[in-house]
C-alpha cells in the first residue's frame, strides 16, 4: 500500500514536471536567470504554490480540525485540547507540505537544468520548505474558521457557500496562470517594480525568493518569522476557542414535512438519484472528483470567447495538422482528472450494508456508479466536443469521432476507477474529504488514466504518425476503447460483483 502511494507521488511529480516545466517554470526562469531579479522566479513559484496549498487545505480545516467527528470521543479522554488541536494541524501541515513539494521539486529541477546545481540554494529551499506549510496553514485556518462559523449559522447554504468560495478562488488562480505570460513580459519590462511590489505587498514571498535564489540567511530568518509567528498566533487562538467550537451545535433548520412523494421511481433512476443526493451534499467531494467538468466547460467557454486566436493558429500551416489532435489530447487529460467512480464505493462508508440487503443485483449497483460518473461528466464534455467541432470546422467523420470518443473515454475511466475502488476500498474514515484526497484507489485510478492517455498520445506521435492519418488513428482508438469498455464491463459483471459481495465495512 505505501509503495503505491510513493509511486503515485513520484508519478504526479513527474507529470507536473513534464506538464509545467516547458510552459511555466522554464520560461519564468529564463526571463530572469543571471539577472539581479532571479529571486522573482522563486517568489512567483512560491506564490503559486502558496495559493494552491492554501486552497487544498482550506476546506479540510472544518471536518479535520473544528468539527471532526471524533471530537466528543477525544474530549472525553484525558487529553488536553491543545494536543488534539496540534495532532490535527500536524496532519494538515504534512498535506500542505505534499502540495508544496509538487511545485518546488520540479521548479528546483528546472533551476538545476538552467543555472546549475547550487548546494546552498538547495539547503535554503529545504529549510524554507519546512516552514512554508505554516504560511498556508495560518491562512487556511483563519479563513476556514470564519467559513465554519458562518456556515454553522447558515447550514442550509453550506454547500453553496463552499462551492462559491472554491470556484471564485480557482477562477482567480487560473486567471493568474493564464496571464502569466503578461507577468513575464512585465518582469522583463518592469522587473524592479514587480520585485518592489512583492516586497511591499507580500514581503514573505519576496524574502522566500531572496532566501532560495540569493541564499540570503537574513531573508531566510525573516521568511521563517513570517511563517512561524502568525501560525503560532492562529494555533493559540484556535486552542483558546476549540472547546467552544467542538461543543457548538450548528443551527439546524427545521424543514416542514409536506407529505410523501406522489410518484414512484424505477430502480435505476432511484439509484442514480441517491448517488446525486450524496454527491451534491459534499462540496469537497464534488470539487476534488468532478473538477474536470468545470474545466471542460471553462475550456469550451475559452474557445468560444477567445478561440479566434487559437483558430488563427490553424492559419499557420505547420500547426494546422496538430490542432484537432492537440485538443483531443487535452480532453483526454481532463477526463483523467475525473475521479467520481474511484471513490464511490468507499463513500458508501458504514452504510454499505444497506445496498447488500436491498433486492438489487450487485451488477446493477456497479452499473449505476459508472453511469453516474458518465452522467455528471458527459454533458460537459459533449459541450466541449461540440465547441471544438464548430470552432474548427471539422468534417462529418471527424465530428462523429470527436463527439463519441470523449464520451467513451469517460465511461472507460469510470469503469477503471470503480475497479480500483473495488480493489482498494476505504471505509475507516472520519470525513469524506480524506477518501477523495488520500485513498489508494483514487491515486491508482488517476495514475492509470494519465498513463493510458499518455500512451494513446504517444502511440500517434511515435508510431501512427508515420503510417496513417489522425482521423484513422482516432477511429482505431475509438474501436479499441469500445473493446476495452466491453471487456471491463464483463469484468465488473463477474469478478467485480464477487469483490463487491465480499466488501465489509468495519
Amino acid at each position: 500500500m505505501p509503495l503505491i502511494l510513493v509511486l503515485g507521488f513520484v508519478f504526479i511529480l513527474l507529470m507536473i514536471y513534464l506538464g509545467f516545466s516547458e510552459i511555466l517554470f522554464k520560461p519564468l526562469l529564463l526571463t530572469v536567470a543571471g539577472t539581479p531579479l532571479q529571486s522573482l522566479y522563486w517568489t512567483v513559484i512560491g506564490f503559486l504554490a502558496l495559493v494552491m496549498s492554501w486552497l487544498s487545505i482550506l476546506f479540510m480545516t472544518g471536518p479535520m480540525v473544528f468539527a471532526a467527528k471524533d471530537n466528543d470521543r477525544l474530549l472525553s479522554m484525558p487529553i488536553r485540547p491543545i494536543t488534539i488541536v496540534m495532532s490535527r494541524i500536524t496532519g494538515l501541515y504534512f498535506f500542505a507540505l505534499l502540495i508544496l513539494s509538487f511545485f518546488f521539486i520540479p521548479a528546483f529541477v528546472v533551476q538545476i537544468e538552467i543555472v546549475g546545481f547550487n548546494a546552498a540554494s538547495a539547503g535554503m529551499l529545504l529549510l524554507c520548505l519546512l516552514v512554508f506549510p505554516l504560511l498556508s496553514l495560518s491562512l487556511a485556518l483563519i479563513l476556514g474558521l470564519l467559513l465554519h462559523l458562518v456556515s454553522g449559522h447558515l447550514a442550509r447554504f453550506k454547500t453553496v457557500i463552499t462551492m462559491a468560495v472554491s470556484f471564485a478562488s480557482l477562477i482567480a488562480y487560473f486567471y493568474f496562470i493564464m496571464n502569466l505570460q503578461n507577468a513575464m513580459i512585465m518582469m522583463v519590462e518592469r522587473g524592479n517594480d514587480m520585485q518592489e511590489s512583492f516586497r511591499r505587498v507580500l514581503p514573505f514571498m519576496h524574502h522566500f525568493g531572496e532566501a532560495v535564489a540569493g541564499t540570503s540567511v537574513r531573508s531566510l530568518l525573516i521568511f521563517a518569522a513570517w511563517a512561524v509567528l502568525p501560525a503560532a498566533l492562529v494555533i493559540l487562538l484556535i486552542n483558546r476557542i476549540f472547546l467552544y467550537l467542538a461543543r457548538r451545535v450548528s443551527s439546524t433548520h427545521k424543514s416542514v414535512f409536506r407529505g410523501v412523494r406522489e410518484t414512484s421511481l424505477r430502480l435505476m433512476p432511484s439509484l442514480l438519484l441517491r448517488e446525486w443526493r450524496h454527491y451534491s451534499s459534499a462540496p469537497m467531494v464534488m470539487m476534488n472528483t468532478g473538477i474536470a467538468a468545470i474545466m471542460a466547460i471553462g475550456l469550451a467557454g475559452f474557445l468560444w470567447f477567445s478561440g479566434g486566436e487559437v483558430v488563427a493558429l490553424i492559419g499557420l500551416p505547420e500547426l494546422a495538422p496538430f490542432m484537432p489532435g492537440g485538443l483531443l489530447a487535452i480532453v483526454l487529460f481532463l477526463a483523467s482528472t475525473a475521479l467520481i467512480s474511484a471513490s464511490s464505493i468507499s463513500l458508501e462508508g458504514k452504510s454499505i450494508w444497506l445496498l447488500k440487503t436491498l433486492p438489487v443485483k450487485a451488477a446493477t449497483i456497479l452499473a449505476s456508479k459508472v453511469m453516474f460518473h458518465w452522467l455528471v461528466l458527459g454533458p460537459f464534455f459533449l459541450i466541449l466536443s461540440l465547441t471544438i467541432v464548430i470552432m474548427f470546422g471539422a468534417s462529418l467523420w471527424q465530428s462523429i469521432l470527436f463527439l463519441i470518443l470523449p464520451q467513451l473515454i469517460i465511461i472507460l475511466f469510470g469503469q477503471a476507477g470503480l475497479i480500483a475502488n473495488l480493489f482498494w476500498p476505504r471505509f475507516d474514515y472520519l470525513n469524506e474529504t480524506a477518501v477523495v484526497k488520500q485513498s489508494v484507489s483514487v491515486i491508482v485510478a488517476m495514475v492509470a488514466s494519465f498513463v493510458f492517455s499518455g500512451l494513446l498520445i504517444a502511440g500517434y506521435a511515435l508510431i501512427w504518425n508515420r503510417i496513417g492519418t489522425l482521423d484513422q488513428y482516432i477511429a482505431v482508438v475509438t474501436a479499441f476503447i469500445l473493446l476495452l469498455i466491453a471487456g471491463l464491463g464483463v469484468y465488473l459483471n463477474t469478478a467485480g460483483v464477487r469483490r463487491f459481495r465480499g466488501l465489509q465495512a468495519p
Binding site: F257, V260, L267, K356, K361
Partner: protein, 237 residues
C-alpha cells in the same frame, strides 16, 4: 419462513458460526440470545445476505438465499444494531428510496409512511436530514423502512437499544401484529426480560454454536430465562 441448515461462517481462521441449524415458522417471534461475540450478528448478517456463508444453506419462505438472493431479499428486512443510514438524505427521501427499490406503489408507501411515522412520533422530522437525527430517531426510520414493503420476515439486531419506552412498546406491538398476520420475526437481544415476554421461541448461541433452542416455555422451564442463560454461562466457565 426461515430455515438455517448447518450454517458455518469463518473470518480467516476464526469460526464465528459453526454448523448452526434453526427453523423459524410463520407467526413466530424468535429471540436470539448470546454473549458479545457469540455469533448472533454474524448469523443475522448471513441470513440477510450481507455475508456469504462458508457452508450450509439458508432458506427464506422456501427459497434458497444462495440461489435466489433477490427473491429472498424482497421477502425480508434487516435492521442492524447501529443503523448507519444515508446521512445525506432526509428521512422521507430515504424512505422513498427504499420504497422505490422494493417497487412499493405511491399510494401504499404514502399510507404506510403516514401510519408508522405517526405511530413512532417522527412524522414532523421526516423532512430533516438523517445526520441531524438522534440514535433513536435513526432506529425509528430504519424500522419504518423495514416495514414499508411489508416483508414476511424481519431480522433485527438489538432493536430496542436507544429507543424510548413508548417507541419500544409500539415496536413490540407491531412485531406481534405482524406475526399474527403470518409474518415472522428473528431478533437478537441482551434484554432477557423482553425476550421472555415477547418471544414464542428462544435460541441461545455460545461460541458460534446453538446450545439451546425451542419454545420459550420449554427453554425456561420452571426457572427464568436469566437463570437459564447464567447457568449455561457458568457451566461453560
Amino acid at each position: 419462513m426461515l430455515t438455517i441448515s448447518n450454517l458455518t461462517k469463518r473470518y480467516g481462521k476464526k469460526t464465528a458460526v459453526n454448523r448452526i441449524s434453526l427453523e423459524i415458522n410463520a407467526g413466530d417471534i424468535v429471540g436470539f440470545i448470546g454473549h458479545n461475540g457469540a455469533g448472533k450478528t454474524t448469523t443475522l448478517r448471513c441470513c440477510s445476505g450481507i455475508l456469504e456463508p462458508d457452508e450450509g444453506d439458508i432458506r427464506i419462505d422456501g427459497l434458497s438465499l444462495r440461489e435466489s438472493p433477490l427473491e429472498c431479499k424482497r421477502r425480508l428486512a434487516y435492521i442492524p444494531d447501529n443503523p448507519d443510514l444515508y446521512e445525506y438524505l432526509t428521512g422521507i427521501r430515504y424512505l422513498n428510496f427504499v420504497a422505490d427499490v422494493y417497487g412499493v406503489s405511491a399510494a401504499d408507501r404514502a399510507s404506510r409512511i403516514e401510519r408508522y411515522a405517526t405511530m413512532f412520533e417522527i412524522r414532523n422530522d421526516l423532512a430533516d436530514p438523517i445526520r441531524q437525527y438522534s440514535h433513536g430517531m435513526k432506529q425509528k426510520i430504519a424500522l419504518i423502512s423495514a416495514l414499508i414493503h411489508e416483508p414476511k420476515l424481519i431480522m433485527l439486531d438489538e432493536p430496542f437499544v436507544g429507543l424510548d419506552p413508548v417507541a419500544a412498546h409500539r415496536i413490540k406491538t407491531v412485531m406481534r401484529q405482524m406475526c399474527d398476520a403470518g409474518g415472522a420475526i428473528f431478533f437478537s437481544t441482551h434484554v432477557l426480560e423482553v425476550a421472555e415476554k415477547l418471544c414464542d421461541k428462544i435460541a441461545i448461541i455460545r461460541q458460534g454454536e446453538i446450545v439451546v433452542s425451542g419454545d420459550t416455555e420449554t427453554v425456561r422451564g420452571d426457572s427464568s430465562l436469566e437463570n437459564v442463560f447464567l447457568e449455561l454461562a457458568e457451566n461453560h466457565v
